[in-house]
Symmetry: C2
């Protein structure tokens, strides 16, 4: 799809909002958040009743809008969408987000209406996103067709393609808490026109996006999707979470967005062929994205681990092996440096389990400099008892663990991941200390899988 | 092991703390939290330097202690442990937690010292937990041999057996945040004497415990462990997270607690034979435990799902199928009740995707009463935009979703699980609404796996 058209969706110069209302509901909320983010000045609201909303004129018809429109957001009832599309076509609008539900996902009558909307749009050359979606989000310019929490609008480098509007929305709500920052979002809904392939192409060329996440229920044109996926994967990592793995899930999917999800093994093969990363769960997808959106490529196979928990070191080693990675051999220099400061009981190996010895800081600094480690994993788990003691002594995470952002400068080209487990306060302290330089995730399994994706 | 002995570990009448100090470290923190929880009055502290700590006398030798001791906590350096055990033996102490590290986990010299400690204990019939562990926690009487956050001391029904002290500790720090409440904890360390089998036996007979969680690196006596596991699984669900699945993990494990973790497939077979539930990750173990520690047995195979996200409904359906469960067929009564209030676009099926229709409350109440559903899964995900609108209108989760604690009374014998995804505030609101009656988890996959475990 031409880049110019995608610009109309993500960076519109002017917007028409068809179905703005003064009564609670979708049409009530959208003017509010457009105003909050400074977009209402560029928005023409339409409602047959006319009047004013948020201090701005409401036009009683599309034809009345005095200006050219880049993007129309349609939130009228399903039965009125076709006529709206015709009027938008006459007005010369070429990009439309249809948020209205009640189409193919509800059965034959809805499917018929959806087909009619499609035909109407074809007549005018209109490109559509939806129906049954919540449109787009762009954190860079704070434009969105759905309300997003302030935290969710902090710009990051993960782009999301979500088939379902609610799911896309939930992701946006959940991600700030989970520590993942987003670049752009497209929710697809029933995919009457634009689909995964269009956004894969656009996001793979988007400078703000380093990883693309897809939540998918099914595709219409498998060949087109696979071609787009392959091309995108050649540019940057693509992580896919797909439902409809089982007969039960396929049935549920059919009644949700009206799409056939097909045999899972066909998808599995296609994903592998394209070198996409398949996430086993939502939680895994988030951890993968946190690493892939912030960390550089991994140039070798070997990982150095510094941990304060031998158990988690062992679990991480298992995870590396499962993902085809190896443990680095610490260099003589590293071994010497650690042995000089380590207490006698400490077994200097990889994973380097420093236990409660207090040498985590030096161990991290030394590990970053080790030539055999192509990537680093740090597991700074500390019992509450220890943290409360340090705090009594006036220490914070950085005092005890060192300034990892500084250490990281010694090895800017190696992926570095911290595993965060423990109690909230401490985790926040460690997260702040890591900044965006070191990816903070929950799961050693996801960390290893992400490193493998950075290797390929 | 005799129940009387376990009582000495978890409900001691009197305690000796060998190695209490006034300088920061383990021996400094323990008197503080024993005092805080009201246990210092029953504690005799020992340190050759004598003096006072926290306003109480410190005895300069074990022999000086004027009273009988149920449990000794040993935190002296490794080299001094053997002599301490001898003195405790002479004093008549029979239960000892050795928290000191520096034994078999550090190599041959440490292993030799550990063997000597074992021999000394044999002479006096002392039973030991550790070394290289942090002992026990009992939330019912607030006794612990390691500092635990206040939140972690709220009594619950999940017992934990963790090989590693740090790991057990991290779990205790992490679980309150994750919403899992604990009954008792035993950390095993190098397992010089007491091991998983002893605590499996004890916890399986403990009335406060409904599920037992094990983090394991390896076992010494496989036959004994398997027999204990089988017996325990016949009483209540046992969830196991085991490291050392791969050669890398086994190597790491060996240098951690000095135990051989063995071929993973042997363990896998043993777990299956005993009907234990194997967790794939720490996060999965926590979600499983939240369900298994609060929900009743599942008497049939069929699950009813009410969701506001079609996508998550589809993912949940996949997860049910993977775990050998089925979707319930809503009864005519249920269908009729929902259709009467549902908007026309709503496809009344299972999963019941109510979307933004506002009928989640009635759907949950109706689902609880449905005779075909043997268990219920609710996915009340709500976009931030909607919640912020409700709040403006003065609504909270209970206003919108109903009082699930009340609805639950219609079906006290069916497991009920809520999936919590979205933004923090809302999740807390839903969690409060669910109380302990409905298990709140993150992952639909773990929810389905837990239901399958409640079925068997």
């Amino acid at each position: 799809m031409p880049k110019q058209l995608m610009k109309m969706f993500f960076e519109p110069e002017s917007i028409a909002l068809i179905g703005a209302t003064r009564t609670p509901g979708f049409g009530y909320g959208i003017p509010k958040f457009l105003k909050k983010r400074g977009w209402l000045d560029k928005t023409f609201m339409v409602n047959p009743k006319g009047g004013e909303i948020e201090g701005r004129k409401v036009y009683s018809s599309i034809a009345e809008i005095p200006d050219k429109i880049d993007l129309a957001i349609v939130i009228v009832p399903a039965r009125a969408v076709k006529q709206t599309i015709i009027e938008l076509g006459k007005k010369g609008v070429r990009a439309v987000v249809i948020e209205s539900a009640g189409f193919a996902e509800t059965g034959d009558e809805g499917r018929r209406m959806q087909d009619e909307v499609y035909q109407a749009a074809q007549t005018y050359g209109i490109r559509m996103l939806g129906p049954n979606c919540v449109g787009v989000v762009n954190t860079a310019n704070k434009f969105s067709t759905i309300e997003v929490m302030d935290h969710g609008m902090v710009p990051g480098h993960a782009a999301i393609i979500a088939q379902s509007g609610v799911f896309g929305n939930i992701l946006l709500d959940h991600l700030p808490e989970a520590g993942l920052k987003v670049s752009k979002v497209a929710t697809l809904g029933n995919k009457i026109d634009l689909d995964e392939a269009d956004f894969l192409e656009y996001f793979s060329r988007d400078d703000n996006t380093r990883v693309i996440l897809i939540y998918q229920e099914g595709v219409k044109d498998g060949r087109r999707f696979l071609a787009a996926l392959k091309k995108a994967c050649a540019q940057k990592p693509v992580v896919i979470l797909k439902s409809g793995r089982s007969p039960l899930g396929r049935q549920a999917t059919l009644s949700h967005t009206g799409s056939m999800s097909g045999e899972d093994k066909i998808y599995e093969g296609a994903f592998r062929q394209a070198k996409a990363v398949r996430a086993g769960s939502l939680e895994e997808m988030i951890d993968l994205a946190k690493v892939l959106s912030t960390q550089p490529k991994m140039t070798g196979n070997k990982v150095g681990i510094v941990t304060s928990s031998g158990s988690l070191g062992a679990l991480a080693s298992d995870a590396l092996h499962k993902n085809g990675l190896e443990l680095a051999q610490w260099s003589e220099l590293t071994l010497k440096a650690i042995r000089e400061i380590a207490p006698s009981y400490l077994n200097v190996k990889n994973p380097l389990d420093v236990g409660p010895s207090g040498i985590f800081k030096q161990a991290v600094e030394t590990a970053f400099a080790d030539p055999d480690a192509d990537a680093l994993m740090f597991i700074p788990v500390v019992p509450f008892a220890a943290v409360s003691l340090w705090r009594e002594l006036g220490f914070n995470a950085m005092n005890y663990l060192g300034d990892w952002k500084e250490f990281r400068k010694k090895a800017p080209n190696k992926p570095a991941i911290a595993i965060l487990l423990g109690f909230k306060d401490w985790l926040q302290d460690v997260q702040n200390m890591c900044g965006d330089q070191i990816a903070c995730v929950i799961s050693v399994d996801a960390a290893a899988k992400a490193l493998a994706a950075l290797r390929s």
